[in-house]
């Protein structure tokens, strides 16, 4: 085996051709590139084509499931692609070549520059989100006898129109029926004559009148509550 000691370029020169922003901490970039173990391609040139296939599907469906380690690589490539498109714009030739190489469908190139770029212009965080899924098998895989020990990951673009994976952490209770009725009752009371007349009178009279209204509204609420228990909880 011939090895090139004389011919090796021993020390790399500082390549400062571009100004590149640092990726945000949610994106996990490993020290070295991850190899996608596929059989039909050979070498590092085929790997980029496979990554391009994943990126086209990401832009099409805005949420895809992959092997977790494959998704780690695709995450970095998408973020870089979108930042380049944001900074350089539509008419810059090298970015057009990049988009042409990575995106295999022509409609999605227009989507990049016209839909995704204005969506992410004011973002300081990452544009994508990676979820880690368990290696549980589906019914079809169990029947066919497929074995999977590796985790799967769900990559999605932020701001997508699909329903969210995670429920929101804080649920505001203003939309609950009981609270809607209470707010309406409050409004009616404060707008009514009873409140304005009773303001001058003693406090005890106010409280009693106010309590009467409150109790009446509670009766209404109890009626509705019985009806609600029949309906399923939303």
């Amino acid at each position: 085996m011939v090895r090139h000691y004389n011919n090796a370029l021993p020390r790399p020169s500082t390549a400062n051709k571009k100004l590149i922003p640092i990726l945000p901490p949610e994106v996990k970039v490993k020290r070295g590139p991850i190899s996608l173990n596929k059989v039909w391609y050979r070498g590092s040139s085929g790997r980029l084509i496979v990554i391009g296939q994943h990126i086209t599907q990401l832009f099409k469906f805005e949420r895809i499931t992959l092997d977790y380690h494959h998704a780690l690589e695709v995450q970095g490539y998408t973020e870089r692609l979108i930042t380049e498109a944001m900074r350089n714009g539509d008419r810059h030739i090298p970015t057009m070549e990049l988009a042409d190489f990575y995106i295999h469908e022509k409609q999605l190139v227009h989507k990049l520059f016209k839909v995704l770029v204005p969506r992410y212009i004011d973002y300081t965080d990452s544009f994508t989100k990676l979820w880690r899924l368990s290696p549980a098998l589906s019914r079809e895989d169990i029947i066919t006898g497929k074995v999977r020990h590796a985790d799967k990951g769900c990559l999605e673009l932020k701001g997508n129109p699909l329903p969210p994976i995670e429920p929101p952490k804080y649920i505001s209770r203003k939309s609950y029926l009981t609270n809607v009725l209470l707010d309406a009752a409050k409004k009616d009371f404060y707008a009514s004559k009873q409140f304005s007349d009773n303001q001058t009178s003693k406090k005890k009279v106010e409280t009693s009148a106010w309590l009467e209204n409150f109790n009446s509204s509670l009766e209404l609420i109890s009626i509705y509550r019985n009806q609600i228990s029949d309906i399923k909880h939303i």
Binding site: M1, V2, R3, H4, Y5, N6, N7, P10
Partner: protein, 147 residues
């Protein structure tokens, strides 16, 4: 797979044979060892004839341990069937900073006593050789230019 300029034969063969990937060669070491060909750089008659004929001198022995020739080392060389001594004056290998690197492995022929065969050196010589420990004052006297 490519080969350096030293092995021209192998380069020509590889151009003809497309699937010859399994040539077993020794490692390509960026060193001047026993077996390397040198270029004579002074105006001695022996050196001129050897370079014109296409039979450059080849290192047989090196007066140094380890047996790797560096700038200023004395060397035995085979020219035209004769054994002669010489001094290495320029190397192609990458050097430390402030030491020049030449495009050819240069040397100067001399006697056993240290008297050079030629009267003039036509090529620049590194300043390293001026060290007193090397004992090459007679060759410094011939030189025209220093780098």
């Amino acid at each position: 797979m490519s080969f350096p300029g030293n092995s021209r034969l192998l380069n020509q063969i590889s151009l003809l044979v497309n699937y010859a990937r399994n040539f077993n060669t020794s490692q390509i070491l960026n060193q001047a060892r026993i077996g390397t060909f040198m270029r004579v750089v002074d105006n001695s008659a022996l050196g001129k004839q050897a370079m014109l004929d296409g039979k450059p001198p080849k290192i047989i022995g090196i007066y140094r341990k380890p047996r790797i020739a560096e700038l200023g080392t004395k060397v035995i060389v085979a020219i035209k069937g004769q054994k002669k001594k010489g001094v290495v004056v320029g190397l192609v290998r990458l050097q430390k900073p402030f030491v020049p690197r030449f495009d050819s492995n240069n040397m100067v022929l001399m006697d056993d006593k240290g008297n050079p065969l030629g009267t003039r050196i036509l090529v620049p010589i590194p300043n390293l050789i001026r060290k007193e420990t090397y004992g090459l004052n007679k060759i410094i006297a011939i030189a025209t230019r220093f780098v």
